[in-house]
Structure formats: structure tokens, C-alpha cells
Symmetry: C2
């Protein structure tokens, strides 16, 4: 089990491979972000995006899926997240793109009020198959401390 004590500031990880399909881009946009440029190439052609691109929130959701799949590969005492800072959508994400993640632990701190838990901050960068960063964010994670023996 991976506890707060095992989180090492500076540690990096590289993981994930998520194929972005046109069907999924349109389905997400229809439900959650029905702006014309996320629904059709024709509407997108008149914008900065040029052609159909994923909602930024869809990119966040696909990133979360890669994070969860990566977490599942080792048992972790994670307790969820209170938030995320500085999400930046750096480039459009297009159908056919293959996304991956690079993450780095920025720092960690013990909880003052909860001696059984701590938090850590990570910087997560999502890149496409051309190694272009498309999303960067700083996430906050909560995690259990290792129980006393």
C-alpha cells in the first residue's frame, strides 16, 4: 500500500494511452458542452480550432481516466481530491489524437487537523502523439498516513 510517507517530491511518472474518437468527442459535447465548434467540423472551421475538437472538460475527463487506471496499478491509500489549480488547455485535442500523461510530485504536507492524512500536489501534463502538451494542471491529492506499527 502506498501511503503519504511514500510520496516523494520530485518523483515523476509517465503513463496512459488514450485514443480520442470522433464519436466520443461528439457524445461528450452533446451532453455537457454543446458549443457548435465541439459538435461539427463545419462550425469549427470558422473558429481558432479549425476542425472538430474535444471540449476542454472532456480532455480533463480523459486525463482522469488515465490517472485512475494508473492508480489502480498499485494499491494506494488515496482519499480523493479537494481541488485542482491552474488548468490550462494549451492546444486543441482532435479526434484521432492519442493522449498520454506525465506527472511530477511538486510538494507534500501533513494535515494539521487530521493526523491520519496528508496532502500532496502534482503537476500533470497531457501530451498528444506529436509530444505537444495539450493540457497542464496542478492537482491536490489527499492520502492516508502510514498507520503506526
Amino acid at each position: 500500500m502506498r501511503y503519504w510517507e511514500d510520496v516523494e517530491p520530485g518523483a515523476t511518472a509517465s503513463f496512459g494511452s488514450y485514443l480520442v474518437t470522433r464519436e466520443e468527442v461528439v457524445a461528450f459535447a452533446e451532453q455537457y458542452d454543446p458549443q457548435p465548434f465541439h459538435l461539427s467540423d463545419e462550425a469549427a472551421a470558422q473558429t481558432y480550432f479549425g476542425r472538430l475538437s474535444a471540449s476542454g472538460w472532456h480532455t480533463c475527463a480523459m486525463t482522469m481516466r488515465m490517472l485512475v487506471d494508473n492508480m489502480a496499478s498499485e494499491e494506494s491509500a488515496g482519499l480523493g481530491s479537494p481541488g485542482v489549480d491552474e488548468i490550462r488547455w494549451l492546444k486543441p485535442v482532435y479526434p484521432g489524437d492519442i493522449l498520454r500523461c506525465e506527472s511530477a510530485v511538486v510538494d507534500k504536507s501533513a494535515s494539521r487537523s487530521r493526523p491520519d492524512m496528508g496532502s500532496f500536489r502534482s503537476e500533470i501534463t497531457v501530451l498528444n502523439q506529436r509530444d505537444e502538451p495539450v493540457l497542464r494542471m496542478k492537482s491536490i491529492g489527499l492520502i492516508r498516513r502510514r498507520p503506526a506499527e
Copy 2:
């Protein structure tokens, strides 16, 4: 048409009514955030959440839907968003909750490099039917400037 010139710092808005269903919570979690506490009441009972709750990213997506529906009510020269700051998931969102939004324009600035556009920052708070804030974030919006006559 609503341009950058029409964005007033300090202006507030209240909009949206989004019924959170169990089916949608589970469908989103299965696809994007398959942590056990977002998939079943049984797994959630062993956590802080107590019972099945929505992925924080699902709450962001539902918020986006309310924002887009509200934008559609008046023609806007919006150009998308480069990012979001300080997302905070303040309370769990449960099936049966009805969410709504309150937003306030924090400030705005002209673009130095693009005389035809500007940006503005908004603070968005999502509340449930008990008027408890469940999500707060600061979004950045890009918008066209009013063309010269």
C-alpha cells in the same frame, strides 16, 4: 451581440437547474473516473462520501452544461477559454441533487497581442438544492471586442 466592452466587472448572474441522476453519475464514473466510491453505495459507505457521489469532473461537466445553456440565451462573441483556476470540490454531489450556478465577473483585460479580443475572469459557484456550495472555480473567458463602426 455581447462583446468584451459589455462585460462588467462585479456583474452577477444566477442560472441553471440540473437534476443529478444515479444513472448519469454511474455512467460518467464508469467511463472517466472508475474509483469504487463513484460506482456503488457499498464502496462509498467506507469513505468520507458515505454514499454514491458524482466524480468531481462530472460536476465540472454538469456546470459547463449550465454555463453553455446560459450563454445560448444571449448571443455572445465568446472565443472559448484558455483555462480555469482554483477548482474546489467543496461538498459531495449526490444522485437526486439539483444543481444551480451563481457567477460573478471578477475583472477583465484587453489583449496586448490581439487588439480584436479581450479576456475576463469569473468566479463560478455551484450550489445544491440546500443552497450548499458544492463547487467553486475561477474561469478565464476569451471574447471578441466590438468591431469599429
